[in-house]
Symmetry: C2
């Protein structure tokens, strides 16, 4: 046995190595070598977070012969942990295993403080946990008459001695809870330290549960995830309607409500906070976690949601210069925004970017990280009632917001509804027969496949959601039923009974049931306006950046992540691009909130990045109107659809307005068309 006074210890995967005095615990060895091993109990064999896996054998590459018997044998503390909590036979608790000879020790991912989080199911970059809240178990010296210092001072002494935590501040509620906790825990307590600076929670004895909730406050829906702060596991996810809807469907109508009603902003603040509180308690219930164990919240939202959640009057956001009260990240408490959680729970609201580009966009950037792309120019579009658009790469990042309106979310659509069981979400229309087939949410089979009737017997066909309406209109366009100018061609009524007159215009009957699901001329107009706004915003940023094409497009948001890239491109929602490079980013804003929940480093990152984002204000950019007008047609007129043409037979395009000898006259005609379209609705 190669025992020396100073055995060699090598940790993988970091490869850090060094000699330590024989008898040093692996945990202490790791700390002295700068190896990242987790621990809550501070080396007392209670928490089991510090598990490592010693290797056995010769490792010429590392220049070591490692033997598991070069560690002290399993002692009483570790035996106890094995018996009560279980430990794989090849694992050791690094806080009890002492080095007696050369060893090679692997630190498994789950034992690292800064472990990687890989989100399954959705296509999001892995990121590293950098805990905002850390738990520390300590043993406090009991008070004595001879040394009558306060219990808090002795707690601080213990935290400094055991964890190197100096100059901590302490919440007053923690001071209040201190003596009962010390008594109940026999002077052993666990504290939560927030940002390495403040003691925000306290439990008697050993406690290793701490949770957080990441919330995306949308104008229409609010979505939240409850997460284990230690390992990033999502334990519950849920969504709810934003009850502010009763004050106005879209953002501007809510600002108007605040403008026209005394105390209107306050009403909306109360409404959204009540919804947040309900969402969080619902998540806690769903995850089986007491709300009191929730220690951290993060929030994203557009500027108006951001202001209303924080109780700031959003009225200045309703008119130029669209000044935010603050574009900095806001650190506050859960209690301050009306959420019942642990009394020390903090809330972190991501920074905003500009008056129309909010903390939700900051979340999208954090999730998608376009600012880390070396060269490729990426377009990230988060489609909601507004579309937030980010374009750029490592060198330069632009952002804008486009007023798409709620059509993509199924609002202002005759048979529109939220994406929920029973909603038509996919549509195909036969180019020859003009007959449709479709799929509804909650049923696996298409409408022309076996099993559809049985499935639909459960869900019904209740309407059509955003992704369904986009596919339906794209398919109608590809089938020649809708013209490039967006007219449902009544002449085709001779070929199919599905085209029916509807006053002065025509509709297409997608499903003749109860309710009847039709695509009306108004529906086409609403989608035209929405998609033109979206496209024009993206196009504006491309102009600014100086590119004609982008390398990659990411579609985010409840709607954005559901639509089929092909159909989105057929309709001209997005610029032409290689379809292989167009993908879904899921709810990227919410993912950004989740990352910020788990990583202090990511907070610093986004706070830095947003300061260098170039903001583009669509509302006052003359070119936005131009692009908008150009983009009303299907797919759009302002750029050749080369990639698209390769994968789908497009109807012949209408004459390009841009080449009209009298461009201004043509634009006047287009504007008249828009007015007509708007009046139609």
């Amino acid at each position: 046995m190669n025992q020396t006074a100073e055995p060699l210890v090598i940790f993988t995967p970091s490869g850090r190595r060094g000699r330590v005095a024989a008898g040093t615990t692996l945990l202490d060895a790791a700390r002295s070598l700068g190896v990242d091993i987790d621990s809550v109990c501070g080396g007392r064999g209670i928490c089991g977070r510090c598990q490592v896996q010693p290797a056995e054998g010769a490792f010429p590459k590392h220049g070591i012969e490692s033997r598991s018997d070069h560690l002290s044998p399993i002692g009483g503390v570790e035996e106890g942990y094995r018996a009560t909590s279980g430990l794989a036979p090849d694992r050791r608790l690094s806080c009890t295993a002492e080095v007696r000879g050369d060893v090679l020790v692997d630190v498994p991912p789950e034992s690292q403080v800064h472990r990687q989080v890989v989100r399954k199911g959705i296509d999001v970059r892995a990121f590293e946990i950098d805990p905002v809240v850390r738990l520390h178990y300590v043993e406090v010296v009991p008070p004595e008459l001879a040394s009558p210092s306060g219990d808090l001072a002795r707690l601080h002494d213990a935290l400094a001695a055991e964890w190197g935590l100096a100059d901590l501040e302490t919440d007053l509620h923690v001071v209040r809870a201190l003596q009962p906790a010390l008594e109940a825990g026999g002077y052993r307590v666990t504290v939560a330290v927030h940002e390495g600076r403040t003691i925000t929670a306290l439990w008697p004895g050993f406690h290793d549960r701490a949770f957080g909730v990441a919330i995306d406050v949308g104008s229409t829906t609010i979505a939240g995830h409850l997460v284990n702060l230690a390992d990033g596991a999502v334990l519950a996810s849920t969504g709810a309607m934003n009850p502010q809807i009763r004050f106005g469907e879209d953002l501007m109508s809510r600002v108007s409500y605040a403008m026209l009603h005394d105390g209107g902003a306050g009403e909306m603040t109360r409404a959204v906070r009540a919804a947040l509180a309900k969402l969080v308690s619902g998540l806690a219930g769903q995850a089986g976690v007491p709300a009191r164990e929730i220690l951290e919240l993060t929030l994203v939202g557009n500027p108006i949601m951001h202001h209303l959640v924080l109780g700031i009057d959003p009225v200045p956001l309703g008119s130029a210069p669209f000044a935010l009260a603050t574009d900095r990240a806001v650190r506050t408490t859960a209690a301050e925004i009306g959420v019942r959680a642990h009394p020390g729970a903090r809330a972190y609201v991501l920074p905003c970017i500009a008056g129309h580009v909010g903390a939700d966009t900051a979340g999208v950037i954090l999730a998608e990280q376009p600012h880390r792309d070396a060269a490729a120019v990426r377009l990230v579009v988060d489609v909601g009632t507004n579309a937030e658009i980010v374009l750029g790469n490592r060198d330069r990042l632009l952002a804008a917001s486009s007023p798409t309106g709620p059509a993509f979310e199924g609002a202002q659509i005759s048979a529109g509804q939220r994406a929920a069981p029973g909603a038509i979400e996919r549509v195909r229309i036969d180019r020859a027969t003009l007959e449709p087939r479709f799929r509804v949410i909650g049923v696996d089979a298409w409408s022309d496949e076996p099993g559809f009737s049985e499935g639909v017997a459960r869900t019904g066909v209740t309407g059509i959601c955003g992704s369904g309406i986009v596919e339906a209109i794209a398919e109608l366009f590809l089938a020649g039923i809708v013209t490039a100018d967006g007219i449902i061609d009544g002449a085709l009524a001779v070929r199919t009974p599905r085209i029916v007159a509807d006053g002065r215009t025509f509709s297409y009957v997608l499903h003749d049931g109860e309710p009847r699901v039709t695509i009306t001329q108004n529906d086409v107009r609403a989608i035209q306006l929405a998609k033109a706004a979206l496209y024009a915003g993206a196009r504006l940023l491309m102009d600014r950046f100086g590119v004609e094409t982008v390398h990659e497009i990411r579609l985010a948001g409840a709607f954005g992540s559901q639509i089929d890239p092909l159909h989105a491109m057929v309709l001209g929602l997005i610029p032409d691009a290689d379809l292989a490079h167009v993908g879904s980013a899921g709810n990227a804003a919410g993912t950004g909130a989740l990352i910020a929940l788990l990583s202090a480093a990511s907070r610093r990152e986004i706070e830095t990045v947003v300061r260098r984002v170039e903001k583009v204000e669509t509302a006052v950019e003359p070119r936005f109107q131009e692009h908008f007008v150009e983009a009303l047609a299907f797919p759009h007129r302002s750029a050749p659809s080369t990639h698209l043409a390769r994968v789908v037979d497009l109807p012949a395009p209408p004459p390009r307005v841009g080449r009209d000898p009298d461009r201004r006259a043509a634009q006047r005609r287009r504007r008249a068309a828009i007015s007509a379209a708007r009046e139609d609705r």
Copy 2:
């Protein structure tokens, strides 16, 4: 005219001097030379805080010939200030006066940020203001579409550029108030910055009023001063009963209430907070200051008051080891302790020292500064329901608390009352006739002087307050009516009808009116117990320090500062000392709160000093009981009253217990006497 490119500027009283570029304002010159000149408006000629007084003539001592015309003539801004706010002819606004030639300039005290505060009327050391809250007027760049940063970011930029304030945090309520204030003030606002770190308040335009309240929370009474934070002027002072009295007269009965009643501590917390709120709003009304302009509170109090105000359960303070939840200074908000003030108002609670020695004692130390005495050993006694005792000098400081009970405050005394108009406060008894004469609060004349009847017709003679009872018993002792063992000698009833039988004991009739004011045997016993506790505590600290005498005695507290040192020494409340060195410290605890309100430096000072105070726990010191027994007699037996004997004829002392051949037996007898005294009550 001695004009050079770089004229010489000398500031007095600091004597700082240097050359500055011609055209530099005096304010900028002062800053560059490290001279302390106040300013709120940042050099815009609005606030008038930066007034200076240029000198005219030759000053050989300073080596300068100074001429007032070496400054730029009075311009429009200064003219405007003179017209609206007034400015002495020989004064200039240093922010507008530019240096053109050599000048000697005096900075008057009121123009210094760190000005000295000299409290009139009470004998407290002068101290220097070191503002905790500072006001800063700034002009914020209005928002523009082209640079859509948040208003808060632009406010921070302005504060950094104009005032060098970087990395400020901002209260959320300030963020909420920001846009309306910017609008109302035309992008000119004044902010309050707390501890150089946090923006806690905001006003549109120029604002230069900021107030604070210093509060002493006693078990029986709560006292407060409302202060102008800029110059330390006390604008209102008031006192109120502590409504917790209904839960128990003394501290231990309040702890018992908390122990015996579920939620009892919470009830007491609500009661005292309601009283604080009322006190503060009363002070604001009295001073004619809106409560919203109160930005800072400081609080002192004994440990149990400290805990109850902060909502901490005081029960652990009721039994050994008397552990404080915290002995550190507590920084919280006015709202947290239920006081309505500015929403950003902070509250600072001075640190405690030990389980029985609280923030009130920290206040006493801050006011009296025994820790700065080079050599002389000082005894500071704050007499309330408990006596806090501090002894020491620069090298060493000891502190203890003695359970005197409420007798000194007039409670448990047959005709006792608080010090209020109508209360007998001074007493003399003729050694020959045994007839008394006295003075009552609110009447200047003694009872045997002309004008007394007229005065008393207004106030009545309503009872006797603490200082009155002490003088009465001391005079009765000096007249031989009360023996050294504290017995009212019934045999003297033959000499005066004022001595009357009262059951098995005798009383002395001080005032035969309605009500009748008598000194009963029980009254003497109550004072005996109280003074013995006080003396024993002081004596214990002297033992520990290793001194037999002290150089100076300071008596603090509502009672302490009213009693006559001679009578206090006759009764043996305090150790024997040169009467010339025994003085009143006023309400030193409250003065300490006042100093902490005005000086951040003093907060740092007391936080450091309390950590090195040696705490002495009277409850478990065996020698405390010994000293207590020794001290029951008048004046006391444990030390020769050499100074006292020089100024007053003392009755022959009883035999010294300390020389009793059977000391233990003697002590047993004494203890029996105490029990008897206690049963008498």
